[in-house]
Amino acid sequence: MIQIKDLHKNYGKHQVLKNINVELERGMVAGLIGQNGTGKTTLIKSILGLTQFQKGDILVEGVSVKAGPEYRNNIGYMAQMGRYPENMNIAQLFDMMKKIRTIDKRDEELYEKFQLQKIAHQNLGQLSGGTIQKVSAALAFLFNPDILILDEPTAGLDPIASEILKEKIIKESTKKLILITSHILNDLDEIASHALFLQEGSLLFFEHIKSLKEKSGHQKLGKTIAEIMLERELKK
């Protein structure tokens, strides 16, 4: 569904993404892993069209992201700590989004489970970080898109909300392509099928998590990754 071909991105002299080639398919839950500053968010933003890249291309269902904004009809995005106009309330925000994306088959499961209707008339400026995350998550899933891009989705969520979100991701995973970044590898362990590992702007590996675990013999993703990284260091 998403083809990334030979992607290069730099801010001035600073090379952020180098020669990335990857193909993501429906049914995958791809965990995007890497240290801070390795280009995870830049990669996501490139897919979303938030940042421009210098070389290569990204095709979403065969269409280049440079061709126009229509491909985003099929993408739901949850930003890392999103912020919204302070004087708009939740109801108005959802109302506006629904008017922007005129899609009929809506998925309001998260909206209901997070009980956002109870606080629908509170201004977004007055909400706590966790509640904002709930709003962002509900918005990402609202239009039942085929592709979901979630940037640190569980950060700031309370355990109950976090569980609700993970369940939702697992539930949707078979029908969609879901791309997640997270620092909490345990969270990914529960939901991700594939791991995309970025280091210093390059794609180190892209593999099925099961096969990764088999190779290393560890049961936890965290340890598996740590081991892989250690191996790499030793090779150098």
């Binding site: 933003k45 904004p69 229509e70 985003r72 009809n73 004087n87």
Partner: protein
């Protein structure tokens, strides 16, 4: 585009700042009518308030508004909407709300306490200044990524247009005083929208009789069809050119 503009406008309009700004403007303008014993003087006072307050408030508010809505713009950018649409929605909603919040109190005080002769020229200048300084703000805010630096530059530009530029005019006139430079007085003010609005209004108020030879030349210029065309076209360009550059910057910006 209409949808986004509508939601953004309503959101900005609800802010406490906007409401209190409008209220303060009304008190200020009405107060001038009560403080000065002459209607014309009060109207000149209102126009002076407008020339000083509007550029500064519009610029500082618009720039910080754009910085503040950075995340929201990012959210909109992830939706299937063209960048251009987002850019102009942001610009128009911001400008229209400012315009509304400024026009209503000023127009109201003029209608209530004066005979309304100068309502149109004052509102016209208000419209020009709001659009122009909103455009300039967009340019600054999309060009400079760091908020503090952006606001610093905004304040500097505000002071530049309000006072520094006029200081330069003073200097130029002083240095060139041996030459017949009366003709170029108006030319110098073309490069500052505040000066341009001020001079347009002075001639509407018939104060030009005080201005001697320079005034006579300027009145002839403003009175002629070509002259007024040049002035209004220049004001229009002051609004459009920064906006076009801002749109280009926005189109290529990484969020």
């Amino acid at each position: 585009m209409m949808k986004i503009t509508k939601y953004l406008s309503l959101s900005i309009l609800k802010s406490r700042f906007m409401v209190s700004y409008g209220f303060i403007l009304f008190i200020l303008c009405s107060g001038l009518f009560f403080l000065s014993n002459d209607m014309d003087k009060a109207i000149i006072g209102i126009h002076n308030v407008l020339l000083i307050l509007v550029p500064l408030v519009v610029m500082i508010y618009s720039v910080s508004q754009i910085y503040q809505s950075n995340d929201f713009i990012r959210l909109l950018l992830t939706q299937p909407i063209k960048r251009k649409v987002i850019f102009y929605s942001q610009y128009i909603s911001n400008t229209l709300v400012l315009l509304l919040v400024q026009t209503i109190p000023i127009a109201l005080s003029l209608i209530l306490f004066s005979d309304g002769t100068y309502l149109f020229p004052i509102i016209l200048n208000l419209v020009f200044l709001t659009f122009i300084f909103s455009s300039i703000s967009s340019l600054i805010a999309y060009k400079i990524n760091e908020k503090v630096r952006g606001i610093g530059i905004t304040i500097f530009l505000g002071i530049y247009f309000l006072a520094i530029y006029d200081g330069l005019i003073l200097l130029i006139i002083q240095l060139m005083s041996d030459y017949p430079i009366e003709k170029y007085g108006i030319l110098l003010s073309l490069f500052n929208p505040i000066d341009l609005c001020r001079i347009l209004f002075i001639f509407k108020m018939d104060i030009s009789a005080l201005m001697g030879l320079t005034g006579a030349i300027m009145e002839k210029f403003i009175g002629s069809g070509l002259g007024s065309l040049i002035i209004y076209a220049t004001l229009f360009l002051w609004a459009v050119i920064p906006l076009v550059f801002a749109a280009k910057l926005f189109n290529k910006k990484d969020y």
